[in-house]
């Protein structure tokens, strides 16, 4: 069943075209990867799909309902959005940051209920952040902070998770850890959309990929369909070596192709 779908999405800021005629579909149980070079419009597309920004033209449906018609509260309860380089502006404890994930369930005068605290606990357990629950989040390493921000999203208990480059600037251990956690979320009735720069991680963890270039959809489909030497050469302007074996797909960029890349 389709959890999220967008047809003919256009997005412009003033006169500048950011996205043009994008069709996208996310099924339940799927982890979908958005890939493409810098400035391709991946983050913009993600923002439109989360409902944080409205598209100029096109139709986005979430669970059979127009996204624009969905009440802000239910949108906030059913979708979790991990922004790029998410960080806390005040020296909160880890636990407090995760508790923020319960805001969509609270009225403005309410404090966290015992159910809220249970969800917070479960979210920290799921992301293995219980060990530093009392530490100040701004003193944690980048990898630990990302896990805490993910825990905040799990505390909301959303159906659909959006993550904008969640593993950029993380070490390999934390990259795999974060990807595994998101992968495990995207099962059953739930799903995830992840913007990624690491093509190997995208190929290994995602069910389907959307390859964007200059605000347009270059191609989409299964990993094998999208992750081809031709596609990568055309969109990224690099020659690459793609290895498939039983342990997964590895994409290695070898060299730039002449003047190809704008």
């Amino acid at each position: 069943m389709s959890l999220l779908s967008g047809q003919g999405i256009d997005y412009s800021i003033e006169t500048i075209r950011i996205l043009e005629a994008i069709d996208i579909e996310v099924e339940c149980g799927e982890m979908v990867g958005l890939i493409g070079p810098n400035g391709a419009g991946k983050s913009s597309l993600l923002r439109l799909l989360t409902g944080v920004e409205a598209c100029t033209r096109g139709d986005i449906q979430f669970d059979g309902q127009r996204l624009a018609d969905l009440a802000a509260v239910s949108r906030a309860q059913r979708m979790g959005y991990l922004v790029q380089g998410a960080m806390a502006h005040w020296p909160f404890s880890v636990e407090k940051v995760v508790e923020l994930g319960r805001i969509p369930y609270q009225k403005w005068w309410q404090q966290a209920s015992s159910e809220d605290l249970q969800k917070v606990e479960a979210a920290m357990a799921r992301t293995e952040t219980l060990a530093y629950r009392n530490r100040i989040v701004t003193t944690l390493s980048g990898g630990e902070q990302t896990l805490v921000m993910l825990a905040r999203i799990f505390a909301t208990d959303p159906d659909l998770i959006f993550a904008d480059e969640p593993v950029a600037a993380l070490d390999p251990y934390h990259q795999l850890h974060v990807m595994e956690i998101i992968r495990n979320h995207a099962r059953g009735q739930r799903a995830a959309i992840v913007v990624l720069h690491d093509l190997s991680l995208a190929a290994r963890f995602c069910d389907r990929l959307y390859l964007l270039n200059h605000g347009k959809l270059h191609c989409s489909g299964s990993v094998n369909e999208v992750m081809t030497r031709e596609n990568i050469a055309e969109v990224y302007g690099v020659d690459s070596q793609i290895e498939c074996n039983e342990k997964g797909v590895t994409v290695t960029s070898l060299s730039r192709i002449g003047e190809h890349h704008p």
Partner: protein
Amino acid sequence: MNIKAIESPVLYSVLLLLFLFVLASALTVGPVDIDLAKALRDWIDGQISIESLILFDIRLPRALLAMLIGATLGVAGAALQGLLRNPLAEPGIIGISNGAALGAVIVFYYGLAGVGWFLLPLGGLIGALVAVSIIFLLVGQNRSIITLILAGVAINAVGGACIALALNFAESPYAMQEIVFWLLGSVANRSVNDLYIALPFMLVGWGMVLYCGRFLNALTLGEETAKSMGFDVRRMRLVLILGVTACVGAAVSVAGNIGFIGLVVPHLMRPFVAYEPRRLLLASGVTGAILLLIADVAVQLLSANGEMKLGVITSLVGAPFFLFLILKSRNTLQ
């Protein structure tokens, strides 16, 4: 490093006890020594005596006004620091204080202050409203918070320049002195009427700001995340700024500019509420009330003749204290 907030009931019990103690001391202080017991007895019996008049018509309104203004400045400072996610923000930063001050100065300048007691606070409130309207006109559709701050700084400067102009062309040294003394900030010689005109605006303003508490918490993770948590960021920002305008405008209108309470109090209280912007609002309000009451008692004790202005002492004590806080907390706030 671990942080542990003081549990709310403990924190508020301590603050409440402190508050009652300070309020009681404020009522015993004044230029004339009176028999408080007699004042209370007369008041209960419905007899009008010098003592009961001094206690209920002079000291109590003054203490209540100091308390309300302190609470307003504390709440507004905490709210703006939360909104701008900048610990250096204070009620003056978005131009409201100077707008209100200019409104009041215009009333003085044209000699209207004596015409009706309500004209001075009214002028202040109109000034605050005009200032905030100009800011929103300037900011317009622009969504960045930086534009908002810059517009506030500009309005502040314009307000300051116009006040200087009014002082420059003041009719007489006496008129000039009147304006300057008023600008310094004080709650002396205010009446119950000032209380009545300021209180509704303060209550509405506090309510609007407290309504934004949950939004301020969400804002800890940035505007984008706050939006994804279901907040209409621009609407909430508007509610918060209008709330701050209402209560700070009312405070400045009746008491002039009282500095540093709005800046220092949130700093002081933040560690006690685990840095949570929402809990900081109430904690800063109560603490602001206590501190301004203490300052007003100090003002009355320190100056036997020719009273020292309240705004002078808050700045004198507040500025070095603020420096001390920055030096102390520079490791936690990067």
